[in-house]
Symmetry: none
Subunit: 124 residues, 4 copies
Amino acid sequence: MALSFQPDKPIYLQIAAHMKREIIAGSYQPGDRLPSIRDMAMIYEVTPNTIQRALQLLEQEGILRTERTNGKFITADDALLRRLRGDVLRERAAAMTRELLAYGFSSEEILSALSDELKGADSQ
Amino acid sequence: MALSFQPDKPIYLQIAAHMKREIIAGSYQPGDRLPSIRDMAMIYEVTPNTIQRALQLLEQEGILRTERTNGKFITADDALLRRLRGDVLRERAAAMTRELLAYGFSSEEILSALSDELKGADSQ
Amino acid sequence: MALSFQPDKPIYLQIAAHMKREIIAGSYQPGDRLPSIRDMAMIYEVTPNTIQRALQLLEQEGILRTERTNGKFITADDALLRRLRGDVLRERAAAMTRELLAYGFSSEEILSALSDELKGADSQ
Amino acid sequence: MALSFQPDKPIYLQIAAHMKREIIAGSYQPGDRLPSIRDMAMIYEVTPNTIQRALQLLEQEGILRTERTNGKFITADDALLRRLRGDVLRERAAAMTRELLAYGFSSEEILSALSDELKGADSQ
DNA sequence: GTGGTCTAGACCACC
DNA sequence: GTGGTCTAGACCACA
């Protein structure tokens, strides 16, 4: 694993985002137990403190649940995870649309640029 | 104007981004002279220092040019601006694609989400 | 029974509090024998260890008494239980009063808020 | 100031609660700037880190607002503060009612205990 | 000067 | 073993 962190963003945010992606992508299943904070600290090569902070964010979103002495678990709430998946997609699409429209690009330009990117990615 | 700045991002970056958007969107024409730093400081309600930093970024990208005693000007290099416009579009589309694919979304999902957003925006 | 424990508080404290409530509320009578620790462990779905710790607290308060080979019993001391009942009521009322006065609420506000709550609860 | 912290509760929670009380009680006015984190750290005799954590909670509740390089401010949203004041009162009253009813106390007992406490406090 | 991030390391309660 | 809290101290970007 050992992410190469971008130096301009807080590490704990990058870890939180990474975990969120893994969960939404299905690398972790609902109800799964996460590695212990100490283990994740070694995996990501950061302090346990930093992991703690990252996971706190996901817990606030309801994605994680903590059992005081057993560890942290992906929520078993399947509906929440599905909703989250949809929300993320919509939110990202909306943010990108908003930004590019502000740049003065037309809907056609935006759509065509995205299609190009997706074709490029698919063919890899 | 008087942007409402997001409190968690450096103001000078937000101003730089805003200027860049205005330029790419065509609110400023190639060769146009910018308002003085002092004026912009009043417009944006920040210290001249902050404006200075923001414009420095744009100058590094070649979008602006400083004439020692006359002020700062949008580059007259039309080709550069066109190229920049294309670069921004491609870069944003690529970043979004990369991120959403990492989330495990399919090309179809991504394209359809974006179409939905664009329809929503158009109809307004 | 099978309490749904709050994940952020020690389970043994939650069990102790629950037992105390049951005793004060009269669900157990003075002199009654408690279920065995093993049974209670199954009822509460925790380890016997945890039950042990919870009951220890009640024993320290004098609410329980252990007979070496027979099990644990609610104290037969009726006066103690009555006194305990009064103490709990006073202590909780005092704590709430202290806190709300520190928030700057007036006696009238506090009293009226409590009346409202009690009316709401009664009508259910 | 220099609170005497209860040893069984996290200090940062106690500080957060204390600040919230001060704000609701009106010791800080809407829009007021808080002392710097470093100053508060000295006042409360804890690490800046701990203050940071406490204030983060209030920020999540919308009570505080951070200006990146200027400090932290009480929200100027008067309505929010009034709403908060009411919410706190209702919430505390509800929690106490719920608990005491679970103990088997009658509405009359609860109300009378609270009246006694308030009389005691008033006469001081 | 301000807030924010991160580390290293300690200590704790709980189960 | 688990998560949680706290300190001391360093470093950074921003205005």
